[in-house]
Amino acid sequence: MNVMQRVAFAIAAGAGLAALAASAQQAPAPASSGVEQYREMLGEDNPAELWEARGEELWKQKRGPKNASLEQCDLGLGPGVVKGAYAVLPKYFADSGKVEDLESRLVTCMVTLQGFTPQEAKKNPFASPGKKVPMDALVAYVAAQSRGMKVNVSLDDPHARDAYEVGRKIFFYRAGPHDFGCVTCHGADNERIRLQELPNLTRPEGAERAYTTWPGYRVSQGEVRSMQWRLNDCFRQARFPQLEFVSPASIALELYLAYNANGGVMNAPSVKR
């Protein structure tokens, strides 16, 4: 079988995963054990490769009112440098005057290089059932070019330092009808919601394990999900209003998590439950 066929086979095998988990009622097992089996079936392959390939095409494709590609986009290491860029984001960009993560930076480049309006560039940031979006593919492509590299975000710039401090406070910010905040589920070691294991994001080991594996291919959804999606859905479950795509709070929080994960080795897109 070629790579695509093996990936397709593994996706089909993954469909049996829910049934497998449902029948495994004999003993408490963490949700991760089923995903481990699925990873074994995949071997070296990862369904996210399909998104990575599509993302590379989109990166090079001339699009938008200016009919330009993203190949000259500066992701933080200079125009056109994709390799290693994800590992140093979020960071402060003087040209936009903002601390930006990958998704935000892609929006910026779609506006400046391709001529989309900010509204157009931010539209449909996440896939919905049956509807793939360019953003997921671009995120998968760029993140994959940092695979094996160490997370290395810097707080040397005062804007980044300020954003980190805001992100740290948001992590501990409890509100809403349930008094929830990030810290409710991610502030202690070895805890679970139902059978789902929860990383302690206040400690380097937990932050590294989580941060270095997003974006990820979500087996249960058949989609590659970005870090922006991950935070958006966490806040939904925490009963907050909707976190806006590439909002300052989302990027500040990512910077807090990324800084805590500094030194961890990027392995994204990973395969998630």
Binding site: Q25, A27, P28, L155, D156, P158, R161, D162, E165, V166, R168, K169, I170, F172, Y173, R174, A175, G176, P177, H178, D179, F180, G181, V183, T184, C185, G187, A188, N190, E191, R192, I193, R194, L195, Q196, L198, T202, F235, R236, Q237, R239, F240, P241, Q242, L243, E244, S247, P248, A249, S250, A252
Partner: protein, 208 residues
């Protein structure tokens, strides 16, 4: 201001000790700054309106503590104030139906913008607690409650404690992770009674 002074003092101490002073900004972000960023970053959707970003006294105090326990006197003050919020049933009846209580413990529906606002909310107890032998998909953020009534005693005082704990958990443990189900209007009085029965009825699977 107070934090800045402490931070400055700590900085002086570091220099005095001959340690390298890092480039980290020590005073952190102000509450006003954080509130501004949050209001710029979230949008109202469905039942999740923007007022949910604003904190009450408990939420503010517990956020500042950053996951660490409060000082003893601050914790006692907070618990006393929360104790005063608990409204016990007028009919004095605290025990409902454990079968309905089990359904409430299983259901995670409620208060998310993706939830139907008209749907009956659950307590989602199993998300964080072990309760019965038959449900193995339980979380561990809260303690195991398996055999709760049997272990604690099937007494009226214990029923009252459980009702109060579910109604407003902060009245008994300041800055607990557990939501204030009655005080915040997540569960109704009848639903809390049903959860009390799940924990306190000798026939409930919790006590088998």
């Amino acid at each position: 201001m107070k934090n800045t002074k402490i931070a400055a003092a700590a900085g002086v101490a570091l220099i005095a000790a001959g340690c390298a002073v890092t480039t980290m900004k020590t005073q952190g972000a102000s509450d006003a700054e954080v509130s501004k960023v949050l209001h710029e970053s979230f949008e109202a959707r469905g039942q999740a309106t923007l007022d949910r970003l604003d904190q009450d006294e408990v939420q503010r105090t517990c956020s500042e503590a950053q996951g660490k326990p409060l000082a003893k006197d601050a914790a006692q003050r907070l618990q006393q104030a929360q104790l005063a919020t608990i409204k016990y049933p007028a009919d004095g009846q605290l025990m409902g139906d454990w079968k309905r209580g089990e359904k409430i413990a299983q259901s995670g529906i409620g208060k998310q913008y993706s939830d139907d606002p008209k749907a009956v909310a659950g307590g989602n107890c199993y998300a964080c607690h072990q309760l019965t032998r038959h449900e193995i998909a339980y979380g561990t953020i809260g303690p195991s409650l398996l055999g709760f009534g049997r272990r604690r005693g099937f007494t009226p005082d214990m029923e009252k404690y459980v009702y109060g704990k579910v109604y407003n958990a902060d009245a008994f443990l300041a800055c607990t992770n557990m939501p204030r189900f009655g005080h915040m209007g997540i569960l109704t009085e009848q639903q809390i009674k049903d959860v009390v029965a799940l924990l306190m009825d000798p026939k409930s699977p919790v006590n088998q």
